[in-house]
């Protein structure tokens, strides 16, 4: 009649198995935090969600100040404001409140 192996012998077997398969021998199942080290880093994935970084005209202008680039849309807007102001249709001055009676 074969006797069952002793706990010490079983532990030794587990230890050997861990050595062979290069896993951590942790008989008391203590929390070592290794699962955090095993986690994949999500940084590259999350930062590539939006297709391309937004580049505004002002960024290009700031990058090449020696070119003296002119933002035509902005210039048009300012010209329109100046035109309206000449015609007396501009925005009222700040702080002056007029009431129509």
């Amino acid at each position: 009649m074969a006797t069952p192996p002793t706990p010490a012998r079983l532990a030794k077997l587990t230890r050997t198995a861990c050595k062979i398969f290069s896993t951590v021998y942790n008989p008391t199942a203590a929390r070592s935090g290794n699962k955090i080290l095993r986690e994949r880093l999500v940084g590259p994935t999350v930062s590539s969600y939006y297709p391309q970084p937004l580049v505004h005209f002002r960024d290009i202008k700031a990058a090449f100040p020696q070119l003296n680039l002119i933002d035509t849309d902005e210039k048009e807007r300012l010209d329109e404001i100046a035109r309206r102001k000449r015609r007396g249709k501009g925005a009222p001055k700040k702080g002056i409140v007029t009431y129509a009676i």
Partner: protein, 99 residues
Amino acid sequence: MRSRILRDMKARTAVANNELIRQAYRYITRNETLPARTRHQAQLALNSLPTNTAPVFLRNRCLETGHGSGVFREFRLCRFQFRLKALNGELPGVKKSSW
């Protein structure tokens, strides 16, 4: 809605930049073989990091509208924009089904 997207972009950069330090603190906190004092200090350091460096702070938003809910992960569009684009034939391989 653009501002929400910008905020999310900023948070994504912050998450990517702070990921290693966060994971290091998390490892120390979760490791029960380390002294309790060290683990507590690591937890406090983790708590003191800016909120937008936490990955849970991120939200997948619609690329077209910046909408924060009902966003398909695969197309990165909210459900309405997805429908519009799909019906317009702008999404390859997407077809309206009928049976």
